[in-house]
Every structure is written in structure tokens, then in C-alpha cells.
């Protein structure tokens, strides 16, 4: 018995001394705040912050000089926690989501040629500015879908990207990858959007797209505060969009949509889970 205790204790003692020595000799300093920051980050490593993964972001935060709200997937919650860890005031981050400002799928928008080749919007865009006549519309080859780390984007059967309001975390990966700048960041609260991205004149748009904005000004006349028209393209003014939905029925080309209600005519199929009204 005694031998057992002694020998085990002896081994333990030797090990302890060796470890203690090594802990001193090979000590590496790690800022505890960095580990804490890494813990509160979502760990999706999506890169939306612009740093290589969450660990990179945590390191950058510690180094200072960047804002705390660079992590869209984490949202306000994470910002608050990070602020607590780093001991600074949190700047409020409002939830933003990405919206595809186009409804011109293969049935509604005309093409100028048949594209053969890589299933990638950027690659197609390099060939005579993309197969669709419309210079601003969704190319429809799904680059955003492949870029989305959260599975929030679907392509409709007719080749149009649609982003789920609920799944989108606002990481902006799709915005970065879209060659036509047709995906925009919008406040989550704003559900009404003008779904067109072509600045062409109305007469021209009518030739190639059944559902593009022709810049007719009717929406602005109906609710002057909520809309602005620039270069023949209407846009929702997101700070003053409370009554924007009232113009929907007036739009002659049906290019204004309210994502908080289901599509009555089913003209655009939304991914499951997106067509239910959000808490308004």
C-alpha cells in the first residue's frame, strides 16, 4: 500500500516539477480578452467582417481601430457582448438583409443570346455583358446562391435569385459576388421594395422586360415621401417607407412588392418560409 502511494506520488511529483518548469520556460502570452471575444462570435467563419474567420476578427478587434459591428451574423447581441469584453460603448447595429432588386426571370425578361459555359454570373457577365438584354437585372446563374454560407438564397425554376428574409444574416457575401449590383442591403423592417435595377428609359425597358420599373412616377405621386425617382428608376426611401405599400396596387408594371405578404398571383415563387408575413 505504502509502496503504491509513494511510487505514484513520486511519479506525480516528477511530472509536476517538469510541467512547472516548462510552464515558465515556454510560456506564451495570450490576451484573455481575445479568447473571450472568440467565444461570443458566431463561429461561422463566413468572412463577412473582412478578416480570415472569427479568430481573425477577434484578433483585429483586440488590435483596435475597427468597429465592433463588423459581424452581421452575430447581430446586436454579439456587438453588446463584444463591447462588454473590450470595455467600450457599443454602436447600435440595425439588422440589414439582402434583397434581389429584380423580378425579371427567364419568362419575363428577354435575352440577347444563348449563353453556353460556366454556371457563374461573373463569368457570363464577361461575355457581351451577360445574356439578358437588361443591363441591371439578375443574371440568374446562381453565383449568390453558391456564395451564401447560410443557405438563404434560392433560384426559382425560371432562374431568378430570391433571398429568404428570415435566413439572411446580412453577411453581404452575395452583394460582393453579384456582378450586377442587383442585390442590395436594406433594413429588415422595410418589406416594400421596388424590384428593378435598370436605369433604362421606360420605352426601352418595355421592349425587354415585362416587369421592370419604367420610371412613370405614379408611386411617387401616390406616396411622395416614400419614393424617389432617379434616372428613370424608382426607389423606396427606407427611412420614410411607412406607407410605401399603398403604392403597390398603383404600379402599372407590378414591380413594387411587399415581402411581408404572400404573392397573390404566385408570379414569383418564394422559398419556403419567406412568404409568411413577418411580425408587423
Amino acid at each position: 500500500m505504502l509502496a503504491a502511494i509513494l511510487s505514484l506520488g513520486g511519479i506525480g511529483l516528477i511530472a509536476a516539477v517538469a510541467l512547472g518548469f516548462a510552464a515558465k520556460k515556454f510560456a506564451v502570452e495570450v490576451d484573455p480578452r481575445e479568447l473571450a471575444a472568440l467565444e461570443v462570435l458566431p463561429g461561422a467563419n463566413c468572412g463577412a467582417c473582412g478578416f480570415p474567420g472569427c479568430a481573425g476578427y477577434a484578433k483585429a478587434l483586440l488590435a483596435g481601430s475597427i468597429d465592433l459591428n463588423q459581424c452581421p451574423p452575430g447581430g446586436a447581441d454579439t456587438v453588446a457582448k463584444l463591447a462588454h469584453i473590450l470595455g467600450v460603448e457599443a454602436s447600435a447595429a440595425t439588422r440589414e438583409i439582402a434583397v434581389v432588386l429584380c423580378q425579371g426571370d427567364n419568362r419575363k425578361a428577354q435575352i440577347k443570346y444563348h449563353y453556353l459555359g460556366l454556371e457563374d454570373c461573373t463569368a457570363a457577365q464577361r461575355i457581351a455583358d451577360g445574356p439578358k438584354i437588361c443591363p441591371g437585372g439578375c443574371v440568374g446563374l446562381g453565383s449568390c446562391l453558391r456564395a451564401c454560407p447560410f443557405d438563404a438564397i434560392e433560384m426559382t425554376a425560371d432562374g431568378l435569385a430570391v433571398i429568404s428574409r428570415e435566413k439572411c444574416t446580412g453577411c453581404r457575401k452575395c452583394v460582393a459576388v453579384c456582378p450586377r449590383n442587383v442585390i442590395r442591403m436594406t433594413p429588415y423592417e422595410a418589406a416594400v421594395h421596388v424590384l428593378c435595377n435598370s436605369h433604362d428609359k421606360g420605352a426601352l425597358i418595355r421592349k425587354y422586360c415585362q416587369i421592370g420599373c419604367i420610371g412613370c412616377n405614379i408611386c411617387k405621386k401616390t406616396i411622395p415621401d416614400a419614393y424617389k425617382i432617379e434616372n428613370f428608376l424608382a426607389e423606396v426611401v427606407y427611412e420614410q417607407d411607412a406607407e410605401a405599400a399603398e403604392a403597390i396596387s398603383k404600379c402599372p408594371t407590378k414591380c413594387i412588392r411587399d415581402f411581408s405578404v404572400a404573392y397573390p398571383d404566385g408570379s414569383v415563387q418564394l422559398p419556403a418560409g419567406t412568404d409568411k408575413p413577418h411580425a408587423a
Binding site: 505514484l8 511519479i11 511530472a15 516548462a22 506564451v28
Partner: protein, 193 residues
């Protein structure tokens, strides 16, 4: 000499620790995403295994047996191995931060790794001499590294494959590990014992 060679070949191929004895599956699955990392892990394991076998051999024959406390083998070995790995971890963190980062949490995992403990215990069970024990340890570690690197290569390739959503990650890794182990069955009977 021939005996030593047989022990070596047997430990690398025929009784490969991962693919035939199914020891050390955790690091096998965890640290096999990149060939470089797998190699680093293999080195770490080789080092730990060899040193662990040496130390446990001494502990067994100079402490446990003389004092008649062989029944404490498991706990004594774990103690020794655990402190050893801690030591390795600290050294690696200091000497090569990059290797430390890529091995990540798996270094501490070797601490209580069944492969290392299993090796130490097997070596004693087989009544290996000191030299045989060391060769056995090196063979086992090389076998582990071989399996790990082969597997990492396969997984790197799988990254570029259209693996169905439901099988991505660990699922397909386990299927692949199974098939790899199946292929290693071909070595059966190569060396008796």
C-alpha cells in the same frame, strides 16, 4: 534483427493502429482535413508515442514490478502520458505557433489518447524488450501517420467532390475510413502475430 523488422512491418501495415485496431480514431477524424496538418499531427504522435513507450517501459519494470503494484498500471501510465503531452504542447506552442494553431485542440487530445495508452499497455503485454518496445512504438506511430496522411489526402480530394449534403463532413469521412480499413485488410496474414 528480422524480428524487429517483423514487429515494425506488422505495426505499420498488418495491425495498423487506426485501421486494424481502431485506436486513435478521434485525432484520425479530427486532424485529417489537410495533408500538412496531418503530417504535423503524425510527427507529434510519433514523438509522444515513442517517448511514452520508453517512459512507461521504465515505469513498468523499475517502479511497478519491483514494488509489486502492477495493478496500478493503467493509472500510472495515464499520469505519465498526460504530463508528457502537456509538456509537448507547451513546447510546440512556444517553438512553432503555426503548428500549434493547426493542431489546435487535438494536442491535448493525445493526452488521454487511447492509441498512446494502448500502445504502452500492448508493449508490456507482449513482453517486448526495451528495444522491441521502441521499434513497436515507432512502427505504430508510423502506421498512424501513414493512415492519417492517406486519409487527409482523400479528404482533401473530397473537398472538391459533390458529396451529397447529408453525407458531408464526418459522415463521408467515416465511410472513407471504413473503406480504407477494408483495403488494409489485404495485408492480413502478411506477418503472423
Amino acid at each position: 534483427m528480422a524480428d524487429l523488422l517483423l514487429i515494425l512491418v506488422s505495426a505499420i501495415f498488418v495491425n495498423n493502429f487506426v485501421l486494424a485496431r481502431f485506436l486513435g480514431i478521434c485525432p484520425f477524424l479530427g486532424v485529417s482535413k489537410k495533408v500538412e496538418t496531418a503530417l504535423g499531427m503524425g510527427m507529434a504522435v510519433t514523438f509522444v508515442m515513442t517517448v511514452a513507450t520508453v517512459v512507461t517501459w521504465f515505469v513498468q519494470y523499475f517502479v511497478l514490478i519491483p514494488f509489486g503494484i502492477e495493478y496500478l498500471q493503467t493509472i500510472a501510465f495515464i499520469l505519465v502520458i498526460a504530463s508528457l503531452v502537456q509538456l509537448v504542447e507547451m513546447v510546440v506552442q512556444k517553438v512553432s505557433p503555426i503548428l500549434y494553431q493547426s493542431l489546435g485542440i487535438f494536442l491535448p487530445l493525445i493526452t488521454t489518447n487511447c492509441a498512446v495508452l494502448g500502445l504502452a499497455v500492448l508493449s508490456i503485454q507482449k513482453d517486448y524488450t526495451f528495444l522491441e518496445g521502441v521499434v513497436f512504438a515507432i512502427g505504430a506511430a508510423l502506421g498512424f501517420t501513414l493512415a492519417l496522411v492517406l486519409f487527409a489526402g482523400l479528404r482533401e480530394r473530397l473537398e472538391l467532390c459533390a458529396v451529397p449534403q447529408s453525407f458531408r463532413g464526418t459522415a463521408i469521412a467515416l465511410v472513407t475510413a471504413g473503406l480504407l480499413s477494408l483495403a488494409f485488410m489485404g495485408f492480413a496474414g502478411l506477418v503472423k502475430g
